[in-house]
């Protein structure tokens, strides 16, 4: 997947993880003008997978941060996970922990060895401390490491969250309504406004 992204001339270059996040994000933004050139399958690939700020469609007016190919998979996984949630609690918890811990383990192994999962390998020679460099997975477009790192703990914690009680828990549960609207409405529309460019938008 990442090789394909690279060959399509992705903004998320494969070797810029060593720079400061600001630097490589800035280079992504500067690359934006490149999207206006070219056409055909490459452009389609950018829409479907790599994402961009200044889109090839309609000149510079389109943003795609959450490109469809990785995220539709996440949504499909969530759909499939519904089956697990309908199981009786003991079985549901067992499977949740297995999936979650398995994902975390896969993340630690695959990302830890820089074998696969992120186009930007982590290293100990960045301005970032090594641990932070390791955790600084590629989000746009969502890399395998990024998804394992985030969804793994969420799924693994489901049995614990099921048992959580208390005032704060109750308050959070009532907050659940409509994250969509906060995500879409209240956020600054220009992801490049912040110095960090592509990493800026909510979520």
């Amino acid at each position: 997947m990442h090789d394909l992204a690279g060959s399509a001339g992705t903004a998320a270059g494969s070797d810029d993880r060593d720079r400061r996040p600001g630097d490589h994000r800035a280079s992504q933004c500067a690359d934006a003008s490149a999207y206006k050139r070219g056409s055909g399958p490459g452009e389609l690939w950018k829409v479907l997978y790599t994402g961009f700020f200044n889109g090839p469609v309609g000149g510079s007016q389109l943003i795609v941060l959450y490109s469809i190919i990785p995220w539709i998979g996440v949504m499909a996984a969530g759909y499939a996970f519904g089956t697990v949630l309908t199981m009786e609690p003991a079985r549901r918890n067992r499977i949740s922990v297995r999936i979650g811990v398995g994902a975390i383990a896969l993340f630690l192994v695959a990302a830890g060895t820089n074998l696969y999962g992120d186009p930007r390998p982590w290293s100990t020679t960045t301005p970032l401390p090594a641990l932070l460099s390791f955790l600084n997975t590629t989000k746009y477009p969502a890399s395998l490491s990024f998804l394992l790192m985030t969804l793994g703990p969420i799924i693994a914690l489901i049995p614990l969250l099921d048992r959580a009680r208390g005032r704060i828990v109750h308050w959070l549960q009532r907050l659940r309504a409509g994250p969509v609207f906060l995500l879409s409405a209240a956020h600054p529309a220009d992801p490049c406004a912040g110095p960090d460019g592509l990493e800026d938008p909510a979520g």
Partner: protein, 296 residues
């Protein structure tokens, strides 16, 4: 099982002994079973009563052989019969009154301890609702059975009938309404399932607020110091949690509504039109953004 056609009699005669055999095999959690209860002769309508320790053991058995295979075959073709299941879950206790039906033991008598005529159960039963004490006993095995002796006078028999009627009322309106789940095929403690998912959603909301505060206060998205880095890092959980749970919601929405595709399509359109930064039209021109994007 209700016989609908002549072929149905053959189906019933074929399946009956197998069911007897399955019950006699005493699967785990089966307390007692009674087969060949006749509901009606014309059309022939037979039934059975099986008492299980808990729902889980019953479900385990129904998903094991031979029941799983019976059910699969049955869904393919009912062979001229009609088949129905009803499951009554009881968290509280139950009371049964047996008048002149003590031998061989029937129903609760086969596995629950007996309490004497006029004992605590029947005294409580004189109220308008189910006997409170019986309802509170937590386990099936602890449920008292009120058994009346065979020498009960006619007055007691009448009382027994009254209590029998009340007994049925318990089944219908008492503990059942508290524990009966309409989705019997998915015996989920829906309360607890929603608890974890709602909690995740709520936490996502808080993380999103954190991210917005960070953006508007001009802090960079990540950086070499741990504080800045993790302020951004925790918000990485938002999008995966949100999208993942959107898929889960679709799963739960689907079976309840026939218009899942339409629902999702309308949602998606609304999502795209809401000028979301994830996929939307942006207001600024390229040159402006490139200027603001100069290295930090």
């Amino acid at each position: 099982m209700r016989v609908r056609t002549l072929a149905g009699i053959k189906t019933l005669l074929g399946l009956g002994p197998q069911i007897d055999k399955a019950g006699a095999g005493r699967p785990d959690g089966l307390l007692h079973f009674e087969n060949n209860i006749i509901y009606r002769l014309f059309p022939l309508h037979l039934g059975m009563r099986w008492y299980w320790k808990d729902f889980a053991s019953m479900e385990k058995w129904t998903r094991s052989e031979p029941h799983r295979m019976w059910w699969q075959n049955f869904l393919r073709s009912s062979g001229g019969t009609g088949f129905w299941h009803e499951v009554y879950c009881m968290r509280g206790g139950m009371e049964g009154v047996y008048v002149d039906v003590n031998l061989p033991p029937l129903g609760f008598q086969a596995f629950a301890p007996a309490c004497p005529d006029g004992g605590p159960c029947s005294r409580r039963a004189s109220g308008s609702t189910c006997p409170a004490r019986c309802l509170q006993s937590p386990l099936v095995s602890a449920r008292p059975t009120c058994t009346r002796g065979g020498d009960a006078p006619s007055r007691s028999v009448r009382a027994g009938h009254r209590q029998l009627a009340r007994f049925h009322a318990c089944l219908m309106f008492g503990p059942m309404s508290a524990s009966f789940s309409p989705a019997a095929s998915a015996p989920v403690a829906s309360q607890s399932r929603l608890a974890s998912i709602d909690l995740i959603r709520g936490a996502v909301m808080v993380l999103m607020a954190i991210d917005h505060v960070r953006v508007y206060s001009g802090l960079p998205a990540g950086g070499p110091t741990a504080g800045i880095f993790f302020t951004r890092w925790v918000t990485h959980f938002i999008a995966p949690a949100f999208i993942f749970l959107a898929g889960t919601s679709a799963f739960f929405y689907g079976p309840k509504h026939s218009d899942l595709s339409r629902f999702l399509f309308v949602r998606a359109c609304g999502w795209c039109c809401s000028s979301s930064p994830s996929f939307g039209w942006r207001g600024r021109s390229t040159s402006t953004s490139r200027t603001t994007c100069s290295p930090a």
